[in-house]
């Protein structure tokens, strides 16, 4: 049993129709259950066109629930692009194999150069991003984690889906979190955008969080890429996926992102509408549906939008992002995956948050929790400090 079995029980078009048929009364009922627990049917109501009239109420509730659970804080992170080489042909992505752009895979020195810039900016949580190619496989990622582990408190990856033993090896090397967006849960649309390459196998991608859960990763990031298919149904499937995973892999934490299609290198494609107003509705719906899930706000969104929306349910933000390998220390912008829309430095974003009564949180993890010791003054005090600390069975007995 995997999520594919659950997914197959729900037809995308029927879900879309059901959402479109929700009424104001359904929305009121759903909102009344905000503190006692919403059903997946309630989530449909909150994602429906009928909920648009309740957006202000949803925003207030979402803000309140977020402050209660997370406080007036915002966790800051930055992506570090390791490679833009990709074997997939995806219609919407700047890294797509058919795009004739310069390709780059960072070596250790280049990784450390970018890491140094990010550390200087204050980042402790880093998201490593690559395209999908055998050249940048498990051995490469493991090495990157080894190089970066002493530098940061928390390491995440957003790379190609891997097999369970590969994830286990990366967790062993210091990985905390894996982001794997489904792009779309719509079986009819998915193949139209993932024309060739390993990513064209929708079921393997759908089962990725199951493999991650079994491997014991500490956090899994979910999301659908809005613009590929009808966003309301896609968002609901993210909710279905979240609920399935939370019950099955209960030791894992979850986060949700709301990526939207951005201008990029490559062919123009038809983008289904997903406006800022829709994004706010989706964020608030998820917060009211699930008070514990982390919600992430990307630099894909504009400064103006981020400055207003950050308090509506989000718990983490990227800042100062460069979406090209080597982007922080040297490389030109021409290698980027997509354009970002908030050009402020991390310090400016942090300053903005402070002025608005939010504390920017740079560190919310410690490498000790991943079984790693720290260089420096602690090195000699822990049982076995060099690299991964092994065999602690005797410690607890």
């Amino acid at each position: 049993m995997s999520f594919v079995d659950v997914w197959q029980q729900h037809d995308f078009l029927s879900v879309e129709k059901s959402i479109l048929n929700k009424t104001a009364e359904d929305v009121r009922q759903a909102l009344s259950r905000a503190r006692s627990g919403l059903s997946l049917d309630d989530l449909q109501a909150l994602l429906s066109p009928a909920a648009a009239a309740f957006l202000e109420e949803m925003a207030r509730l979402s803000h309140e629930l977020t402050v209660e659970r997370f406080g007036r804080v915002m966790q800051l992170y930055a992506p570090l692009y390791l490679s833009n080489v990709c074997a997939n042909v995806c219609t919407y992505c700047g890294f797509s194999a058919q795009n004739r752009i310069p390709r780059k895979v960072l070596n250790d020195q280049e990784i450390l150069a970018d890491a140094g810039v990010l550390r200087g900016m204050g980042f402790e949580h880093i998201l490593l991003v690559t395209g999908e190619t055998s050249r940048v496989g498990v051995a490469y990622l493991k090495n990157a984690l080894r190089v970066l582990r002493p530098q940061f408190s928390n390491l995440s990856i957003e790379v190609q889906p891997l097999d369970q033993p590969d994830y286990e090896a990366l967790i062993e090397a210091g990985l905390s979190t894996v982001l794997v967006y489904q792009e779309t849960y719509d079986a009819l649309t998915y193949p139209k955008h993932h024309l060739s390459g390993p990513k064209s196998d929708i079921k393997y991608r759908l089962e990725t969080p199951d493999r991650l859960g079994r491997a014991g990763v500490k956090k899994i990031g979910l999301g659908a890429l809005s613009g590929l298919s009808e966003w309301r149904a896609d968002a609901w499937f993210v909710g279905l996926h979240l609920r399935y995973l939370e019950k099955k892999y209960w030791k894992t934490k979850y986060s949700i992102s709301f990526p939207r299609l951005r201008p990029h290198e490559g062919k123009d494609i038809t983008v289904t509408p997903f406006y800022e107003r829709d994004l706010v509705q989706a964020v608030c719906a998820f917060r009211i549906f699930n008070q514990e899930v982390e919600l992430s706000l990307s630099t894909r969104e504009s400064e103006m939008f981020r400055n207003h929306a950050f308090r509506l349910g989000f718990t983490s933000m990227s800042a100062g992002s460069r979406t090209n390998p080597g982007g922080y220390s040297s490389a030109p912008e021409s290698l980027e995956q997509f354009e970002i829309d908030d050009d402020r430095s991390p310090a400016e974003v942090a300053g903005f948050l402070r002025q608005n009564g939010y504390e920017p949180v740079w560190k919310d993890w410690d490498q000790t929790y991943d079984g790693f010791g720290q260089s420096g003054n602690l090195t000699n005090s822990l049982p076995a400090q060099a690299g991964k600390i092994r065999d602690l069975a005797s410690v607890a007995s």
């Binding site: 402050v67 209660e68 659970r69 997370f70 406080g71 007036r72 804080v73 408190s153 500490k218 956090k219 939370e246 209960w250 030791k251 894992t252 934490k253 514990e292 402070r354 009564g357 939010y358 504390e359 949180v361 560190k363 919310d364 993890w365 410690d366 000790t368 929790y369 079984g371 720290q374 420096g376 003054n377 602690l378 005090s381 822990l382 049982p383 600390i389 602690l392 069975a393 410690v395 607890a396 007995s397």
Partner: protein, 263 residues
């Protein structure tokens, strides 16, 4: 009017209100709010602070002369991780006091009883002053006491829920039979909840969300200070017994037969 001090592991506390340091909008709001509570013991999540001596938003605002630090292990999932985190905390924050939090479940942050008991025993042997966060389970609290816990910290309601003393019946048993201080830890959402816990005879309460997430955390901190003092004073003063409902006189008294048997 003063209430009696609380003693944990040989250290006296005049304030019976312990505080968390998360969820504040800034380090300075946190510092002002802590000050308003009169607290002398604050817990700090190891994951949030720099452990290499660099300044950060939390430690930079805590006067170590005024507050005893209680590092917590929030985020660890088992005893092994907790012991590593504890050793790091002892070294980095220069204290052997530890709030032991082991929650393998990151959604509701429910404590793992078995792992907490294992870790408490191991850490007490390593010289830590262990204050474990656990379910309001009277048997577990006795086992933790035997394992060397310096106090027990049962939850009043799910952490961060602000629901008050939902575990009241179990807390009453824990308080009645504990030989170590009982600190009601989670779920206290209003000063009245804290006062009620103190009236029950809890030795202290630990509050975070209710203060940090309040519209005015400084004023709310003061409100909790007053509530904890009032609740403790009420407990020490001996609450008058509640008046029972008058019992209606039955038309045929149940004991009238006694006169017939001539006794």
């Amino acid at each position: 009017m003063n209430t009696s001090p609380l003693t944990i592991a040989g250290v006296n506390f005049d304030s019976r209100l312990f505080l968390g340091t998360g969820k504040y909008s800034s380090g300075s709001v946190m510092a002002e709010s802590l000050s308003a509570t009169g607290s002398e013991l604050v817990t700090v999540a190891l994951r949030r602070v720099h452990t290499d001596g660099r300044a950060d938003e939390i430690l930079g605002h805590l006067d170590r002369g005024r507050y005893r630090l209680l590092p917590n292990t929030s985020g660890v999932r088992d005893a092994k991780e907790a012991i590593l985190a504890a050793e790091l905390a002892r070294d980095a924050l220069e204290t052997n006091w530890l709030k032991l939090e082991i929650h393998p479940d990151p959604k509701y942050l429910m404590p793992d009883a078995r792992e907490t008991l294992l870790a408490t025993e191991a850490l007490a042997k390593r010289g830590f002053v262990v204050l474990p966060y656990i379910h309001a389970d009277p048997v577990l609290c006795k086992q933790l006491e035997e394992a060397g816990a310096a106090a027990v910290m049962p939850l009043g309601a799910p952490i961060g829920s602000n629901r008050g003393l939902e575990t009241r019946a179990f807390l009453e048993i824990i308080i009645a039979q504990s030989n170590v201080p009982v600190v009601v830890d989670a779920g206290l959402g209003a000063p009245s909840h804290a006062a009620a816990a103190m009236e029950m005879g809890a030795d202290a309460v630990l509050v975070n969300t209710a203060i940090a997430a309040a519209a005015d955390p400084v004023a709310m901190g003061h409100a909790f200070r007053l509530a904890v003092q009032a609740g403790r004073l009420a407990f020490e003063s001996g609450l008058a017994s509640r008046s029972a409902k008058p019992i209606a006189q039955p038309t045929s008294p149940l004991t009238s037969f006694l006169s017939a048997v001539g006794v």
